[in-house]
Symmetry: C2
Subunit: 358 residues, 2 copies
Amino acid sequence: MKKHILVIPGDGIGPEVTTWGKAVLEEIAAQYNHEFTFDEALMGHAGIEATGNPLPDETLEKAKASDAILFGAIGHIKYDNDPSAKVRPEQGLLKIRKELGLYANLRPIMLFDELLDASSLKPEVLRGTDILFFRELTGDVYFGEKTRSEDRNTASDLMIYHRYEVERIAKKAFEAAQVRGKRLCSVDKANVLESSRLWREVVQELAKQYPDVETEHMFIDNAAMQLVKNPKKFDVVLTANLFGDILTDEASQIAGSMGMLASASIGDGTGFFEPIHGSAHDIAGQDKANPLASILSVALMLEISFGLKDEAKKITDAIDKTLKDGYRTGDIADANTDKAKILGTQAMGQKVLEYLKG
Amino acid sequence: MKKHILVIPGDGIGPEVTTWGKAVLEEIAAQYNHEFTFDEALMGHAGIEATGNPLPDETLEKAKASDAILFGAIGHIKYDNDPSAKVRPEQGLLKIRKELGLYANLRPIMLFDELLDASSLKPEVLRGTDILFFRELTGDVYFGEKTRSEDRNTASDLMIYHRYEVERIAKKAFEAAQVRGKRLCSVDKANVLESSRLWREVVQELAKQYPDVETEHMFIDNAAMQLVKNPKKFDVVLTANLFGDILTDEASQIAGSMGMLASASIGDGTGFFEPIHGSAHDIAGQDKANPLASILSVALMLEISFGLKDEAKKITDAIDKTLKDGYRTGDIADANTDKAKILGTQAMGQKVLEYLKG
Ligand SMILES: CC(C)[C@H](C(=O)O)[C@@H](O)C(=O)O
Ligand SMILES: CC(C)[C@H](C(=O)O)[C@@H](O)C(=O)O
């Protein structure tokens, strides 16, 4: 198979972790006789520094011309503490999601048995959890009109949804539920929000076309609670952009660490694959970041964009073995971890490559 | 002390639990020679059934004339599954919050040692947690303009904040932090939302007036994660209406159950005290609800609205003893609970009264 992949390292720990995602792609290409070609482009703070633009035109062109995109992370503390900044790294990510029509963000909560103890949740609460989130990614209060009054004393963001936006992602979620546990939980705040009421209407209507899927509606506050209380009860979770942002970060603690979670953004064209963790500037450049989420993003890319299931499984198996043999990055180490087996980013990436080869 | 208290039982399990909140108030009045008089009023589904209005005029008048309000719960499954309903129980609660100017919702996360094992979180993660949430309660996307297009295919809610709204609740939160752990964490989504950027600006400015308080800003997605990962790191958490709704429900799992959490809504006039749990129609009328959140709401009322600290402590001590002696409602029972000590709503309320009486 011939594929052209664009790597966008982005900010903070992004470059450190995408290095290993790319290395794994190269190894898979060699083993399975695929021809993967690569290009690289800037986004976020890196884009601003080089061109003044968080999504340089060249990056967008390259993105559209590629078969899949491997992304690192975005954001910089400099802007976080400057609420009046006009140009912000995150604008790059939001814009590329919109431009590529990446309306569905899939976030599988993968649970490696070896990491049961790394979570703050009790192992008996976690065991058996297997959730696939469908987060809407190009609508909601993220993209609605923003205003600031002239005296700067009033600010607003419009939370808005159109029927077709809810329909297209809901369909994808229902289809996924059909080939998984046949349960779908749609999360909204329909007791307060009109946009949520539209959301619920659409999901209720669509549910009739999927009689084999058991559909449930849950308020976001309750869902945030149930996710900690009893994560096993969820199969497919379908939700809006903002609620999905919050719930999936919360759910990362089920997997022990944000450093273990990958996501796939799909829609009209090229697929976009990224860890759900952020740029983590506090540990950037220190060889401390966990490269597994980037490597798992590559597994998602192979499976979802290229249909290469065996290759994807080969990668998750290699990670499985790495963890079984006791290797950990700092974020997933616990009191029982053999200190000698706590690895930096480089050594962890190398380990996975070894298991992949061998 | 002479005080007039309005009891609004509301919907679902509301009436069952407020009965015990009121009984405890009566017991306290008798013991400390206070004169508490009571009235009752309708709200929510109960209000709609009786008058067609989720907040009958009479209820609002009585509320304004009282010294404090004890509220039960709101909501009905009938409306939850009918996104097109025009009149909804929740409108009653939102309207009374607005009419009484209840802009600050205080939600303390109380941790009873005896319940450490009832949580899905590990005891070592929980132990020592002590968080006080300040949730803004009369602004945000809850009260911004709602629209639905004529073809019903587009729906929106305006997320909006004014400077003074952020200022007044932030001040209360800073003041609370000064007499607590001297740490304040303000939660927003300033990397995406303009209303959050205003929020952050205001909090940053105010922070200068409270140099003794260590102020931190956190994105909502990260906060939802940190709350599960390491709840101990929080002292006072200050946040907007929607984010506060989500975070405090999530945080209820720290206390083992929603059934253990009370809240105080304060502002311009009469204080409003309610459990953070909902109407729980699935268990309503079955003598299964946990009355402790309502009883704890009464403790908050005595302390915050009436300045009666000893009386408040007497109540939390009685609950402490009840739990120490092994009594539990179903929601806080665990595998080690003596089955004979799992009580219904009535028996649990009675037990607390017994311990109160000494
Ligand atoms: C960086 C930020 C804009 C982004 C989001 O909120 O969507 C991130 O938190 C994510 O979840 O991908
Ligand atoms: C019932 C609902 C409107 C309410 C809210 O969202 O504020 C409830 O969830 C709460 O937290 O008090």
